[in-house]
């Protein structure tokens, strides 16, 4: 079943077309990778999908709902959560508190109930706390729960941001370069985490430069080059695609390669 339909999305910055008429589908329960050289438009596309940026043209439909024009906070409430290429953690808050903020996407109690410390506000708080420790345990980093984000190693920071996104209870998780800054062991753990996330029924879209990881986790790959989609298909086909090879080598296809 199609969970997300991206149709003819275009985003221009002045004379530069950062995303050029891109269309693809994401099927429920799969992992889709979005790859391409630096500056290909991957992060720009992510922003367009999640309400952080408005595409000039095109539509993004999630389960029949149009997302273009929605605010980020509305998009996350519909069920799309994301992480950032430059991690956007709350530095003075602990790992656990960071993840608790993720729960706010599905909570409803506001200022007044909190001010009066009404029982449902307290209950919601306890729920968020339990959720945070459960998610950090799921990802295998529960020992960092009380450490301020500013003091976390780079690899753990990426994982905390994933846990925080999961706390919003998404149907679709969008990860922008989750393996950047991770060492080999941490990357192995990330792969396991991704499989666990997928097996729990969450669909994943991942932007990543680590080709080993991409080939291992993804069911399908979309390749962008200078804003345009140049290929789409399962990993083994993409590996052999002449246009993809050309884009990555930055030149003409050479039959000997």
């Amino acid at each position: 079943m199609t969970l997300l339909q991206v149709r003819n999305v275009t985003r221009r910055f002045g004379g530069l077309t950062a995303v050029d008429d891109v269309s693809f589908d994401v099927y429920e329960g799969t992992v889709k990778a979005l790859i391409g050289p630096n500056g290909a438009g991957k992060s720009t596309l992510f922003n367009a999908l999640t309400g952080f940026d408005r595409p000039d043209e095109g539509s993004v439909v999630f389960e029949g709902e149009e997302l273009v024009g929605r605010k980020p906070r509305e998009v996350v409430r519909v069920g799309l959560a994301r992480t950032f290429q430059n991690t956007q953690l709350f530095e003075e808050m602990t790992a656990g508190e960071n993840v608790m903020v993720g729960s706010q996407a599905r909570q409803r109690r506001g200022f007044t109930t909190a001010m009066l410390r009404l029982p449902n506000a307290v209950a919601e708080d306890r729920e968020a706390r339990e959720d945070a420790s459960r998610l950090l345990r799921l990802i295998g980093i529960e020992e960092w729960i009380d450490v301020p984000a500013a003091d976390l190693p780079a690899g753990i920071r990426r994982l905390v941001e994933i846990a925080r996104a999961l706390a919003t209870r998404p149907r679709l998780l969008l990860l922008d370069e989750p393996a950047a800054g991770l060492n080999a062991t941490e990357t192995r753990e990330l792969v396991q985490t991704l499989f666990r996330v997928r097996d729990s029924g969450i669909t994943v879209v991942i932007v990543e430069h680590d080709m080993g990881l991409v080939m291992e986790v993804s069911d399908e790959i979309v390749v962008l080059d200078r804003g345009a989609k140049i290929a789409e298909g399962p990993p083994r086909m993409i590996q052999k695609d002449p246009a993809v090879i050309a884009a990555y080598l930055g030149g003409e296809v050479d039959d000997d390669v």
Binding site: F52, G110, F111, R117, D125, A149, R164
Partner: protein, 326 residues
Amino acid sequence: MNARTLRALAPLIAVALALIVPLAVSDRFLLKVFTFCGINALVVVGLALLFGYAGQVSLGHAAFMGLGAYTSAYCTVELGWPWLLGFVAAGVVAALGGLILAIPSLRLKGYYLAMATLGFGLLMSLAFIQAEPITGGVDGFSGIPFPSIGPVEFRSASSLYWLVWGAVGIAVLVAHNITSLRPGRAMRALHGSELGAQACGVDIVGVKVRTFVVSALMAGLAGALYAGVVGFISPSLFTLTASITFIAMTIVGGTSSLAGPILAAVALTLVQYSDALIPGLPRETAQTIQSYQEDIYGLAIVLIVIFAPRGLAGLWKRRSAGNEAS
């Protein structure tokens, strides 16, 4: 006693100490000084929410205090309203002011927000002078009645002290509830990363507006209390200098804390009244200290920013974290 029990007991000890002050202090002027400490603490609790938690600077908070003070004075003296009603009106008017100031905060950050709030503060302090029919202009507003709630009138120094610190207690309770639950985390998240907060579904517009309103409300109520305690207000009380004093107290107190800013509010208020505090202090010495008051505040900020960027609260947290680790 380990750090955790100490931390749990600290608020109770603080409340007990605050309550018994009027029993231990017989000097009426000194008691009034401690009452002023409470009024400033009330402003600073609101500013701690806005600045220390949500990271939104305000260099115009004295304006909210002024709005509250003049509203309460006008309602009680000119309109003959009961004090409590004027007190509520003061809160409402100041909160509306906060709502107005929240609008630039939605678009501006950092220095630009500082400038916008500073402009608001200057504008209001001019308005207090210009709106003579309501405010009494430069001469000020006098003859403001003592606070009263129904038949109970707060006339004596100790009853005024309890009234003010009672209000501080309620404000702290409300602020603590906000900060320890979901809105407080949303505020700190906003402070940490607006992008990250949005990605978590935080309504950043809503959080900013609500925080500005609550913060302005507390300053307005503090203004109304001041008017009732002193009986006289004038525009010179609600100037840029006062706003900077409040932000100084908040910075010295530290981010993400209520206790730190309250402590700083009390300490820095006492600097203004060194003569009352230290009996036998020669008049000239007291005057010297007072004339250097702003320099002392400035120095306090510089020292804190250099040596303890998270303020008094940061020092305390680091120490107790160290204790728990050992």
